[in-house]
Symmetry: C2
Subunit: 280 residues, 2 copies
């Protein structure tokens, strides 16, 4: 199989690596807007060559969209406009409602497999690409019923080869769930970094005193704004819903601390402790 | 040297292990309120024996307080009341103002070394004790000037043997800084867990979809309420101050998302990205 990955950053770069290293594709080419990133991806061996959209549509069995989520719906439509019946288009974006809505009535909708592999790090660019990046993580496939069975089968086999359990859900459910288990974590982490940077002017102390706890909660604040702004805005209503609840929970804890309500605090934290069983 | 560690949980248990494994003490005994934890600590070899307060004061060169922070000031005073001029008392609590205030005019204040090693995990109890727990982490020593130089020297040497850089500061500064780099991370994490548990009833999805990002921001929500409620209340004014700023930052991000202010979001996140340089 020959694949082209569009967008050779953290996700696309890691996926290109996996396609080659797991023996899924004999040739992986790339499309990358930034010349610097394209050269870096070649240098790192993430892809065998950089191609154009026309070349990709001519040569590739599989085209993978791994660009910021706000660019995916339009780009997917352009590829679907020209795709041949034996070619497959897939995307790896973190939100799905917009993509599924835009492509809903496209005559070639069946060639698109809408996926969201639940993996990422706070790093970005081709140099952030990792070997064995996706293994063990869940991947969501949306609107299975609108996807041609041969295209679905190929993509399922790729994810299975990477060792990823597959979950099927509607685009709506996927965006709701991801607001809770991914997007809010990033917002919280960005806000935490801003809080500390705002208040703690003596940077030396942040550096010295920050234990492992701080580093892990603030890690995601290193993530790429150009990736995450479109995700937050693309999943706006879900994200705002969770954010409202999160601020509410912080205010409850704040009021308990203000009132020296030790019993209430312990009770709330015991409830929060249940996350241990769920994540186990 | 013979040491007694009071409180054989995560911190005390790990410290007891280090004292033995690094060859600092030939004998380490423990005091533990919970019989179950005492037996577990013995079984795990964290301490050589369980002793009483009287036995500790009779036999030990060094007594280490590693109990919840709200119990430390009173307990420290009781030990200082009976301590001999050649014995050393130290504590490992996460807040320091209350302890330093309570012991301020005690005639034996000089025997107390007030320390806060910046290490911990979300686990608790003797079974959470880790080998080489503190290595590479910073330790804060407060009110060096009120501590007898021989006592200070012994404790400094212990921390140096564990490979911990030492920072000296006032109790006030330590509590302020720790509100920013440790306590707020825990509150955020607890609130995040509560948010997700509140909103996401289908626990299966949390389990399946939670990527590494969610797990790292929510990890601290597994922490022991009995440890953290006293820390939040003991450092109330600093914690409330940071919490107010954190909620404010979340509200700013929320408003940007509401208004589709992509530029503002990117700018705020770029500012947050600076945490990368600081933590590097």
């Amino acid at each position: 199989m020959i694949a082209t990955v569009v967008g050779l950053g953290l996700i696309g770069g890691s996926f290109a690596l996996s396609l080659k290293e797991k023996g899924i594709c004999e040739r992986v080419t790339g499309i990358e807007r930034s010349e610097k990133s394209a050269l870096k991806a070649l240098e790192l061996g993430l892809v065998d060559a950089i191609v154009t959209m026309d070349e990709a549509l001519e040569q590739s069995d599989l085209i993978v969209l791994a660009t910021p989520v706000d660019t995916i719906p339009v780009m997917a439509t352009k590829y679907l406009n020209q795709i041949r019946p034996n070619q497959i288009l897939m995307d790896m974006g973190s939100t799905k409602q917009e993509l599924c809505e835009i492509t809903m009535l496209h005559p070639n909708r069946g060639r698109l497999v809408a996926t969201h592999p639940m993996w990422g790090t706070e790093n970005s660019g081709p140099e952030a690409a990792e070997h064995n990046a996706f293994t063990g993580r869940t991947v969501v496939i949306c609107e299975r019923e609108k996807t041609d069975s041969d295209a679905l089968h190929v993509v399922e086999e790729i994810y299975r080869t990477l060792g990823m359990p597959i979950r099927y859900m509607s685009a709506e459910d996927q965006d709701t769930h991801c607001a809770y288990v991914s997007h809010i974590s990033h917002i919280t982490s960005f806000a935490l970094a801003l809080t500390v940077l705002e208040k703690e002017r003596e940077e030396e102390h942040i550096f010295d005193l920050a234990g492992g706890g701080f580093e892990s909660t603030v890690r995601l604040a290193k993530s790429l704004p150009q990736t995450w702004a479109p995700i937050f805005l693309g999943n706006k209503y879900n994200v705002l819903d969770v954010l409202r609840e999160h601020i509410h929970q912080l205010q409850i804890l704040r009021r308990m601390i203000e009132r020296d309500d030790r019993e209430g605090l312990v009770e709330a934290m015991q409830k929060a402790n249940k996350i241990r069983d769920i994540l186990k």
